[in-house]
């Protein structure tokens, strides 16, 4: 479960203070698929960064499974990120000098013991790249690179996957494929999925839609019916609690 308590984020631009997030509070129960939407500059990516521990709030608190990550030391934060969160970025962020297989293997080697080779190969198979394991990112198309990034995000089997505009750089066919893979992961493994997007169609597939505007949550709704498998779970109760304040 991810909990945000009155998180604010501002940056000092000379004498002027620019407020990006003006006080966000929310709870994301385990297993939920949350879409964060909003116009450019509304604070979506900043919020995602705070949720993932990629950045620290100027004030407020971020809790991940009962652990306050807003004041963790860098090494501990790296460990939390490495084991609990899988990332997918709009511009893929693969390491150019490593092959597809090595890119997928990387989080495993950074965070877990033993050999992740079999798992990495299996994941690449699952995303349809079993024949391209030894290719470098530059040898892959955008859609293929994003699928490698998905396999990389899943390799440590994290309870949470965060995605920042994962389909933003892709054509519709590839975008659809990437979204399907994410949803499948969310449904099959119960992975919490937090996804930032501009695309209303993508957002409409989420369990929950949070709309940001000028650094504030202006809408927090459930566009799709909750899947039966999770009806009445703690997650839903937590969500309910969050809504009630």
């Amino acid at each position: 479960m991810i909990e945000v308590r009155d998180a604010k984020k501002w940056i000092q631009n000379g004498a002027r203070r620019v407020e990006i997030l003006k006080g966000i509070s929310l709870v994301i129960p385990a297993g939920q698929f949350v879409a964060i939407v909003g116009a450019s500059g509304s604070g979506k990516s900043t919020l995602l960064g705070l949720l993932a521990g990629l950045d620290t709030p100027s004030s407020g608190e971020i809790w991940l499974d009962g652990v306050p990550i807003h004041n963790l030391a860098e090494t501990e934060l790296a460990a939390v990120r490495g084991r609990k969160i899988g990332f997918v970025f709009q511009s893929y962020q693969l390491i150019a000098t490593l092959t597809a297989l090595e890119n997928v293997l990387l989080p495993f080697e950074l965070n877990l013991e033993g050999s992740g080779l079999k798992r990495a190969r299996r994941l690449l198979d699952e995303v349809g790249l079993g024949e391209r394991v030894d290719h470098y990112p530059v040898q892959l198309s955008g859609g293929e690179q994003q699928r490698v990034a998905l396999a990389r995000a899943f390799v440590v089997e994290p309870p949470i996957v965060m995605a920042d505009e994962p389909t933003g750089n892709l054509d519709s066919a590839n975008g659809r494929m990437v979204l399907d893979l994410l949803l499948e992961r969310n449904r099959r493994a119960g992975t919490t999925l937090v996804l930032v997007t501009h695309d209303p169609e993508v957002a409409s597939c989420a369990d929950r839609k949070i709309v940001l505007k000028d650094g504030l949550i202006v809408e927090d709704t459930l566009p799709c019916a909750m899947p039966a498998v999770r009806a009445g779970t703690v997650a839903e109760q937590s969500l309910e609690q969050a809504r009630n304040g």
């Binding site: 990516s45 900043t46 960064g49 993932a52 990629l54 950045d55 860098e74 090494t75 790296a78 460990a79 990120r81 490495g82 084991r83 990332f87 970025f89 709009q90 511009s91 962020q93 390491i95 150019a96 000098t97 490593l98 297989l101 090595e102 293997l105 990387l106 989080p107 080697e109 950074l110 965070n111 080779l117 530059v138 990389r152 440590v156 920042d164």
Partner: protein
């Protein structure tokens, strides 16, 4: 002419803002230029100041207005001529003789003698200019005046240190005692006297006569110092000016080397010019590497600015307009680097006296070297601009369509594509030839020799190409192995090694540049180490390691007997002591041509007019007859000539010479041409006659023996007690002195070659800085995936250190190849110096890692989001 879309002013403004956007990257580019300029300004500035010192202190450095050096004691006739010259002038001209020789001296009660460079002066006259600095600070006249107890001497501090003595003690020289009156800190004309084999001991001429050290034929040089009147006396017409006194001096002493203060010291000036030329070329290597660094950085920069260039082209700018922007940027970077280099060069110049150590006999008065600064700045700018032009021409290939899509259709592939690619770059290729030619021109200007300039350009270009190929092969080989084992390697190692092939890394060029620096320094060291080792190893037990100088005929039998019974002497073949007599003679004609008319033989005429001859009825030990046959008749009218002299004088077997010796003229035929091995006494003379021709004349003898090195001190002690006027030269001491001079010279060269390493490191830093954004992104992606700082440090450190190791390997391999070729030319065996090789490898890796991290500053502290959001 069509109007340019961009004015120079606008192009300058765009260029300036672009430079400001990446201060780190361009900072290293500026440093790359500065390194070479600093080295060049330092060396040439020092040379400029040194020359100025020579000119302004010329009289002090000579201790007179003129000097005439002869290699024998002045004859009565010569002394008379000089006296007449002074008398005749009666115009205030003063003269004094200075005698220089080597001898043995000890400080009782320690009986071990030390080889010293002895100088005898008339303290009432010497020096005419400058002064001898003594400790305690008394005058030279006071110091050498002696007292009722006997004579006195002043000695160099080295003498006091080596014999553990102090002022006030007694030194023993030529069988007499001298009180050490003071330590000699500096003598004005040390530069003219030249470096001796031992520390200086200075006594008065009167005292020298009393020692009996100078027998007829003794090895000594005599220098006549002349002082002209400060103001020509009233009524003096001509004859007191430097030129006319010089003429008179040349007439009075026809065999002498005459110099006047106006020429400074021709040998030293020539030496200074030669060293400046060589050292300048070493600096030019650093400068060219710096320029290559700028060119690489500009190439990488252009690739990163493709979008901006495409936009400008889409808006109507032509290639010429874009070229303006980057030309102005290059000039700006070159100028900034040049100015920084000049400032640093003044620092290098100030540091050079310490680097040169005691190689320099004169303390140069340093001033701001305007000429060298301008020359360095100009050379730096020109080199930078020249090397940057080929990559800058790439702006012509930028297509405006890039504005719309990143990928443009590729050109033809295969061999056709290869040719098309080269054809498209024909202008760059042509320009590269111009760059190499210009490099030759710059080298010509710096060395003052077209031949040297041409060879420098050709060899340096060839070396760079070879190093580049070696670097590319090394990288490919590593990749070949990496591809085979990569998944079995630890993650950080695999990742670090893979980073060597990061797009835009220019690894091969970095390896070649850094490798050049390593190659230069290591090659100098390997040559030095191998030659010195060879010098030590050739001193085999069969060869003499102790030489005797100035043995008189009366002493010969006693000295022979002494060596027969001396412990440790190699008595093989019953020849404990190898002896060679030397008699002086004067050649009158060679091949029928009077000696005065011999020209262009590169052999000093005075060496024929005051030639050293020996006699032997069989080839002396170590001499090998190359042509003709040694005589069997001891009274044959023949002679044998050393190979080198024979070549220079065009003498062959059968050539006729006329020679005057002992008052008689002899007509002789050349019977044999021989080659001396350089390790026996035979090397000492170039003319050997049958014994019947010379043996009745007064001779000075030289001796050589091999003694167990542990027994040399005991032998010196005993011989000095029995024969105090005989000088002993211990080869081990000479080798030690040679080693110390060679060490000092190679230290200077290595110091300057170090600038090339620094230039190579700046190229590495600049290359790393130009891929900074890629590295930042990589670091934050790793952090996002759970990597700790230490994991990122390990990954990047592997990349930097392996880059250093590879550059070191390239440099080490090339240095060893180069050294082995050069040593083969010198007939010296080559062995790999493993220790130096290892130090070079590890040292380069450490330096590369440090530089890599300096160029990657702040990368570790970045927050992931601030980088990822900049995408």
């Amino acid at each position: 002419m069509a109007k340019r879309a961009l004015s120079w002013k606008r192009a300058g403004a765009i260029g300036w803002r672009d430079l400001k956007s990446a201060p780190g990257k361009f900072g290293f580019v500026v440093l790359s230029v500065a390194v070479g300029v600093a080295a060049l300004v330092g060396v040439r500035g020092f040379s400029e100041s040194f020359r100025r010192t020579l000119n302004t202190e010329a009289r002090s450095l000579m201790a007179g207005d003129l000097s005439a050096r002869i290699f024998h004691q002045p004859t009565a006739e010569e002394s008379g001529q000089i006296a007449a010259m002074v008398r005749q002038g009666a115009r205030g001209i003063r003269t004094t003789w200075v005698t220089e020789t080597i001898s043995m001296a000890s400080v009782p009660p320690d009986p071990v003698p030390l080889l010293v460079s002895l100088k005898a002066v008339d303290p009432a006259e010497y020096p005419y200019y400058g002064q001898a600095e003594l400790e305690p600070a008394i005058s030279l006249q006071q110091a050498l005046a002696g007292d009722s107890a006997g004579d006195s001497a002043v000695v160099a501090e080295e003498f006091l240190i080596r014999l553990n003595a102090h002022a006030g003690q007694t030194l023993r020289l030529g069988g007499r005692n001298f009180r050490i009156a003071a330590a000699l800190r500096q003598e004005p004309d040390r530069i003219t006297a030249g470096a001796g084999l031992g520390p200086r001991v200075m006594i008065s001429r009167a005292a020298l006569e009393r020692t009996g050290l100078l027998a007829p034929g003794s090895r000594a040089t005599e220098r006549l110092l002349v002082k002209l009147p400060d103001k020509p006396p009233a009524g003096a017409s001509a004859g007191t000016d430097t030129a006319s006194v010089r003429k008179q001096l040349e007439a009075a002493l026809p065999e002498a080397q005459v110099m006047d203060f106006r020429e400074g010291n021709p040998a030293l000036s020539q030496g200074l010019d030669n060293s400046t030329a060589i050292l300048s070329l070493i600096c030019l290597v650093a400068m060219v590497l710096g320029a290559i660094g700028v060119a690489m950085a500009m190439h990488a920069h252009l690739e990163q600015r493709m979008d901006m260039l495409a936009i400008l082209k889409a808006l109507g700018a032509g290639s010429g307009d874009l070229l303006r922007i980057f030309l102005l940027q290059t000039l700006g970077l070159g100028l900034a680097g040049g100015l920084l280099g000049v400032a640093a060069g003044v620092g290098v110049m100030a540091a050079l006296p310490a680097v040169f150590g005691n190689l320099l006999p004169v303390h140069a008065v340093l001033g701001f070297p305007w000429r060298s600064a301008l020359a360095g700045l100009g050379t730096g700018l020109l080199t930078t601009l020249l090397f940057c032009l080929p990559p800058l021409l790439d702006v012509r290939a930028v297509r405006p369509v890039l504005v719309f899509r990143r990928l443009v259709e590729p050109g033809p592939v295969g061999i056709g594509g290869w040719f098309a690619n080269w054809w498209a770059r024909r202008l760059q290729l042509g320009l590269s030839v111009v760059v190499v030619a210009a490099l030759g021109g710059i080298a010509w200007a710096l060395s003052d020799s077209a031949k040297v300039g041409t060879w420098f350009a050709v060899l340096f270009t060839a070396a760079l190409v070879v190093l580049l190929v070696m670097a590319a092969v090394a990288l490919r080989t590593l990749r070949f192995f990496l591809n085979r084992v990569r998944l079995r390697l630890p993650s950080f190692l695999r990742h670090g090694l893979a980073n060597l092939y990061r797009p835009g890394n220019q690894s091969a060029a970095v390896l070649a540049a850094l490798g050049t620096g390593v190659m230069l320094i290591l090659a100098v060291y390997l040559m030095q180490a191998t030659l010195l080792r060879d010098l030590r190893e050739t001193a085999s037990p069969k060869l003499p390691n102790v030489f005797l100088v100035d043995v008189t005929t009366d002493e010969i039998d006693g000295v022979k007997e002494f060596f027969k019974h001396q412990p440790g002497v190699n008595q093989a073949a019953g020849q404990a002591l190898d002896l060679m007599p030397v008699v002086t003679g004067r050649f009158i004609s060679v091949n029928g041509q009077p000696v005065e008319q011999l020209k262009g033989q590169h052999f000093p005429r005075r060496m024929l007019q005051n030639a050293e001859l020996s006699w032997a009825d069989a080839p002396p030990a170590g001499d090998k007859v190359k042509q003709g046959k040694w005589w069997t008749d001891p009274s044959a009218a023949e002679l044998a000539v050393g190979e080198g002299v024979a070549q220079r004088l065009h003498i062959e077997v059968g050539s006729a010479v006329e020679l005057e010796t002992g008052g008689a003229v002899r007509a002789l035929k050349v019977a044999a041409i021989y080659r001396a091995d350089g390790q026996h006494l035979g090397t000492r003379v170039d003319f050997v006659l049958p014994s019947g021709q010379l043996k009745d004349q007064a001779a000075t003898w030289y001796g050589g023996a091999h003694i167990d090195p542990r027994q040399v001190a005991a032998m010196e002690r005993a011989l000095f007690a029995a024969y105090p006027t005989i000088t002993v030269i211990n080869l081990a001491d000479v080798l030690e002195r040679i080693e110390s001079v060679v060490d000092q010279i190679t230290f200077v060269v290595r110091f300057l070659a170090g600038f090339s390493i620094f230039a190579g490191l700046m190229i590495l830093a600049s290359s790393i800085a130009s891929t900074r954004f890629r590295r930042m992104r990589e670091a934050v992606v790793l952090k996002t995936l759970g990597a700790t700082r230490m994991r990122i440090v390990r990954t990047f450190s592997v990349e930097f250190s392996v880059l250093g190791l590879l550059a070191g390997s390239v440099g080490v391999v090339f240095a060893n190849l180069l050294t082995s070729v050069l040593l083969r030319k010198l007939d010296v065996g080559f062995h790999i110096e493993w220790r130096a090789t290892l130090i070079a490898l590890v040292g380069t890796a450490v330096l590369a890692t440090l530089t890599g991290w300096i160029a990657s500053y702040r990368i570790l502290g970045l927050r992931p989001l601030e980088v990822l959001r900049e995408e």
